[in-house]
C-alpha cells in the first residue's frame, strides 16, 4: 500500500481520484474527475440522488496509479453518466446495500440493475471503474462482519426517515445480511500496488485512512 497516494485535499488532482470523507455518522466515497479543467465530484449521495457538482478542492481523496488509457475511459464514463443523467431529467439510481454482480453500467452508460436493487456510494464507484474494465476489489474473499450488519440497520433507519419508498426499503431489508464494501476500503484500493485488492489489504488500508481522516471533512447532504 502506498500511503502517499492519500491526499487531504483534492486541488492537485490531475485527472481522477477516489473521494473519501467522513460524514456525520459514517464515511462517503465518490469519483473526482476533471472535465474541461474543472474538477467534478460524481457519486451516489443517497437514494436516487446522484451528485455531480464541481468539487471544492478540499475533498480528501486517493489518487490511484492508473494507466492513461484507463484514466481516459473512466473519466469518459463519468462524463457519459453525467450527460445521460442530465438528459433523463436527473433520473435516480436506487440505493441498496447488496452488490449484485449482474448490476452494471451498460454500453449506453445506463445503470442496469439486473438482479440487484441498486447501489451504495461505494458500489457506485466500483461499478463505474468496472465499466472501464478496471477492477478495484477482489470480491471473492470478503467476509460478513457484524459491524456491517449494524451499519446497514442504521442506514435502513435513515432511509425510513428520509422517506425512501417503503416498498423499496422492504426489498432492501429483505436482502440483509449481506457483504458490505466500505467506502474507505474502496478508496483504499487506489493505494494498492496492484488491483484488484483482496479483503485483508483493503480492510487494513481502509482503517489507516479512517485513522487519519478527521471528522470535519464534510457531510453527505441528506
Amino acid at each position: 500500500m502506498r500511503g502517499e497516494r492519500f491526499n487531504f485535499a483534492s486541488q492537485d488532482v490531475d485527472k481522477i481520484a477516489i473521494l473519501i470523507m467522513r460524514t456525520a455518522d459514517g464515511t462517503h466515497t465518490g469519483i473526482l474527475h476533471r472535465k474541461n479543467g474543472t474538477l467534478f465530484r460524481l457519486g451516489l449521495a443517497w437514494h436516487e440522488r446522484l451528485e455531480s457538482t464541481p468539487a471544492s478542492g478540499r475533498d480528501p481523496c486517493v489518487i490511484p496509479e492508473l494507466e492513461p488509457e484507463e484514466i481516459n475511459d473512466i473519466t469518459g464514463m463519468c462524463r457519459l453518466i453525467e450527460t445521460l443523467w442530465s438528459e433523463s431529467g436527473h433520473a435516480g439510481i436506487p440505493y441498496s446495500f447488496r452488490c449484485d454482480p449482474t448490476t452494471h453500467f451498460s454500453d449506453t452508460g445506463d445503470l442496469i440493475l439486473g438482479e440487484g436493487l441498486g447501489l451504495t456510494c461505494s458500489t457506485f464507484v466500483i461499478k463505474v471503474f468496472e465499466k472501464a474494465k478496471v477492477s478495484l476489489l477482489n470480491f471473492t474473499d470478503w467476509p460478513p462482519r457484524a459491524s456491517d450488519d449494524e451499519r446497514h440497520r442504521q442506514l435502513l433507519e435513515l432511509m425510513r426517515k428520509t422517506r425512501v419508498p417503503a416498498d423499496h426499503i422492504a426489498k432492501v431489508e429483505g436482502e440483509l445480511p449481506c457483504i458490505r464494501f466500505r467506502p474507505e476500503e474502496t478508496a483504499a484500493a487506489g493505494m494498492a500496488d496492484s488491483i484488484p485488492v483482496n479483503f485483508t489489504t483493503a480492510e487494513q488500508a481502509g482503517r489507516w485512512i479512517l485513522e487519519i481522516l478527521t471528522p470535519n471533512n464534510g457531510h453527505v447532504r441528506i
Partner: protein, 263 residues
C-alpha cells in the same frame, strides 16, 4: 419557435468584465453572475425584440446563412441553439450551456457563465441579423462540425455519416483533444447501441484507422463496444489490430493489463 418573450428574456443581458467579457442573461432561472468579475455596465433592454417577429429556426437558419456566410452545418447548429432556448427550462438550458462550454473551449474558471455567453451570443447574432443589422455587435464564435458535436446537436449527429464522424475524431486526436474525442466516441456509440443500430456501429469500427489514434482512444472504442461485442462482426479483427499496436507502443505487460478484459 422563437417568441418575443424569449427574445425579451435573452435581451435582458448584463455585461461583465473579468478574465473575458461575459454576458449573463438575467432570468430567474439563469446561473448567478460569477464572483470574480467586476460589473461595469448594463446593456439597455433595447427594442430589438420588437423588430424581430417570431420565426421558425429554419427561416433563421437561411437568413443567418446568407448574412453570416456560414455553412449549412453551422447554421443547423445555430438553429439548434435557438431551439434549445425554446425549451427554456432551467435545467435543460444550464445543462446545454455546460455542453456549450466545451464547444467554445473556454479555459478560465467562469465555465458555466461562459457557456451561457456562448449560447447567448449565437442567439443575439441571429437576432441582429434578423433585425437587419449588418454589423454584428460582437464577433461570432466560429462553429465547426466538431463544436456542433460537442454542443450535443442530436439532429446533426444523426445526419452525418461514419467517415465524417471519424474524421472529426482523427482531427481531435491530432490536436491532443483526447477528452473531447472520448466524449464523442462514447456519446455516438451510445446512441447507436441504444437504437440497436449494430450494423452502423460495425461499419464505424470497420472504417476505423487506428494509425491515426492514440492508444487511449483505441481503448475507448473497445471499452464502449465491449458489451455489444457479439453483435459487432468487425470488432474481433479491430481488437487484434489494436492489440498489435498496443504491444508495439506499450509493451506486452501493459497490453495485457489494458486489453485483456476487453477481448
Amino acid at each position: 419557435m422563437l417568441t418575443d418573450t424569449h427574445v425579451d428574456s435573452i435581451e435582458r443581458t448584463t455585461m461583465w468584465v473579468g478574465p473575458m467579457q461575459v454576458g449573463v442573461p438575467r432570468t430567474d432561472t439563469w446561473l448567478p453572475p460569477p464572483q470574480n468579475v467586476q460589473r461595469v455596465s448594463e446593456t439597455p433592454t433595447k427594442d430589438v425584440s420588437r423588430r424581430v417577429p417570431a420565426a421558425q429556426p429554419d427561416a433563421l437558419s437561411l437568413l443567418t446563412m446568407k448574412l453570416l456566410r456560414v455553412s449549412e452545418v453551422q447554421t443547423t447548429c445555430l438553429a439548434d441553439t435557438i431551439g434549445r432556448f425554446h425549451a427554456s427550462k432551467s435545467t435543460v438550458v444550464i445543462y446545454e450551456a455546460k455542453m456549450g462550454a466545451s464547444a467554445a473551449t473556454f479555459k478560465n474558471p467562469l465555465q458555466e457563465s461562459d457557456a451561457v455567453l456562448w449560447l447567448s451570443l449565437h442567439v443575439r447574432a441571429i437576432l441582429a441579423a434578423k433585425a437587419g443589422e449588418m454589423t454584428l455587435p460582437f464577433k461570432l464564435p466560429r462553429i465547426s462540425f466538431l463544436n456542433a458535436y460537442r454542443l450535443g446537436s442530436e439532429s446533426l449527429k444523426d445526419a452525418r455519416n461514419e467517415s465524417d464522424f471519424l474524421e472529426a475524431i482523427y482531427s481531435l486526436a491530432k490536436t491532443n483533444e483526447t477528452q473531447h474525442a472520448t466524449d464523442m466516441i462514447f456519446y455516438r456509440i451510445d446512441k447507436l447501441l441504444c437504437k440497436a443500430e449494430f450494423e452502423q456501429c460495425d461499419g464505424l469500427l470497420r472504417q476505423l484507422d487506428i494509425r491515426r489514434l492514440p492508444t487511449s482512444l483505441m481503448r475507448s472504442f473497445l471499452t464502449i463496444t465491449y458489451p455489444a461485442k457479439d453483435k459487432l462482426k468487425s470488432r474481433t479483427s479491430l481488437f487484434a489490430s489494436i492489440r498489435e499496436e498496443f504491444i508495439r507502443q506499450r509493451g506486452e505487460a501493459k497490453t495485457k493489463r489494458l486489453l485483456d478484459g476487453l477481448a
